[in-house]
Amino acid sequence: MIRVVLPYHLRNLAQVGNEVSVEVDGEATFGSVLDALESRYPALRGTIRDHATRKRRPFLRYFACERDWSLDPPDTPLPEAVASGREPLLVVGAIAGG
């Protein structure tokens, strides 16, 4: 199981807690984890990646294992620690007031 930590507003939208777990068929990549996340929680479709372009929304980043993976291609394999469930993948929103 792959662990994903979502920002506050997406937790509320998907009606989940701080962290969710998803399973990925085949190789676990950043793209396939997001596919699995959206498949299990369809309310999240379009909120992390644009519906039409499938690009990461500009105010969100992907962090894992103390690294920013936001600019890596979607077919980049997850780090072993994330793929094995020892470390979570963090979806992080930009800091802003209000």
Partner: protein
């Protein structure tokens, strides 16, 4: 015993205000979708418990919410763990994709950008939701960048009525500083094929075949801020209002000028008359008097607050031209709020109730057609929209 439900969209969530028909004491529920911008909430005339809400965020994009119990609980239509017949997850409710199909017969790729160059259409958010007059599962969405979408399955899926963008003038539309949004959708109960829409900054448009084909209806509008002041499109229309008993007559608050047409938009004439300023955003029609209309004058396009810092609704009982200031209960000094285009509405009680919300977070109510006002609530986030449901 009648009652009123007021749907308030704000910069930081949605609120539902309820009162008995006296409209004196208000209960405030919310915020719903706290922390998100709620551009608009509107109930279905065919089923008042069916309410749609547009929830959006710079971080997470657009979400459509739907209530089937009068705003107590909400769901994202198609957003649950539902599977289609093919076993694929659903969850298309937030998907607004512009039509690029070949049958449109012309490219729908660009519109005019701020600098005069052409720019691709890019979906940003839903500004306005207009439920069908007869079917609680059908709802129209006016979006930024300007386009009209329709759902016939309760908000699960959305399809563009692309004849609007494709009728020929689209490349001449341009955004105002607030974006290029389709903000007004008017349906005609006596003529199901007729739809009016308005776009900032393009103008007003009409369809007579349920949204398949469209034409601009801006003759008579004059806008000094565009190269050709009488151009067929390019006008920054802020809002249009119609009384259901007289659907050929429309009233318009434009970016400067209050206008009126009596032939469904074929020709417009100015009815600003003796207003202290003819700049403003909302315009609304009395529920029982088709010639009684309301506007909220704003000082100018450069200073979005009331003239002389006095918040005043202006009422005309003659369909424009002659206006009276309505001041009782409204702040008459040091007031610097604005009232946005979708933030005024009327109920259908007698006497007619008039409601508006401000960028200062107040929602003012008049239970006597504007003669006097009081705040139903006064410390909400900046109000983006106000809609009213009159309940039996």
């Amino acid at each position: 015993m009648s009652a009123v439900r007021v749907l308030v969209g704000t910069r930081k969530g949605g609120f539902v205000l309820t009162s008995e028909g006296s409209r004196r004491r208000w209960k405030v529920a919310g915020p719903f979708f706290g922390g998100w911008e709620v551009y608009h909430m509107k109930g279905s005339p065919a089923d008042p418990d069916r309410i749609f809400a547009s929830q959006s965020s710079g971080w997470f994009g657009q979400v459509i919410q739907r209530s089937s119990d009068g705003g107590r609980t909400w769901e994202t239509p198609g957003g649950g763990p539902t599977k289609s017949d093919q076993g694929m997850p659903m969850g298309e409710s937030n998907k607004f994709v512009y039509d690029t199909s070949a049958e449109m017969g012309r490219p729908l790729t660009t519109h005019q950008w701020y600098d005069g160059t052409q720019h691709p259409w890019e979906f940003k958010r839903v500004w306005h939701l207009e439920p069908s007059l007869t079917d609680p599962d059908t709802v129209f969405a006016g979006v930024e960048d300007a386009a009209l979408f329709r759902s016939t399955d309760g908000g699960r899926s959305w399809h563009e009525l692309s004849g609007l963008r494709g009728h020929g003038t689209g490349p001449n539309w341009s955004p105002g500083a607030g974006g290029m949004g389709l903000h007004t959708i008017l349906l005609d109960r006596g003529n199901p094929g007729r739809i009016f829409v308005a776009i900032s900054a393009a103008g007003a448009f009409r369809s007579d075949d349920a949204g398949r084909t469209w034409k601009p209806i801006n003759r008579g509008l004059r806008s000094e801020y565009i190269p050709d002041p009488d151009a067929p499109v390019g006008h920054c229309v802020h809002r249009i209002a119609m009384h259901p008993s007289r659907p050929e007559t429309l009233f318009m608050q434009k970016h400067w000028d209050v206008m009126r047409t009596d032939d469904a938009g074929e020709t417009w004439r100015e009815v600003s008359g003796d207003l202290p300023s003819d700049f403003g955003f909302p315009i609304e029609v009395h529920a029982h008097e088709p010639d009684t209309i309301y506007v909220v004058p704003i000082k100018s396009d450069s200073e979005h607050f009331p003239p002389k810092a006095r918040l005043r609704v202006y009422r005309s009982r003659s369909g424009g031209g002659d206006w009276e200031a309505l001041t009782r209960g409204l702040p008459q000094r040091n007031c610097y709020v604005n009232v946005l285009r979708d933030a005024m509405a009327v109920d259908s009680l007698d006497p007619c109730g008039v409601y508006f919300g401000t960028t200062g977070g107040q929602v003012y109510v008049s239970a006597n057609a504007g003669d006097s006002w009081s705040p139903a609530v006064r410390d909400l986030p900046p109000v983006l929209s106000v809609e009213v449901q009159t309940l039996p």
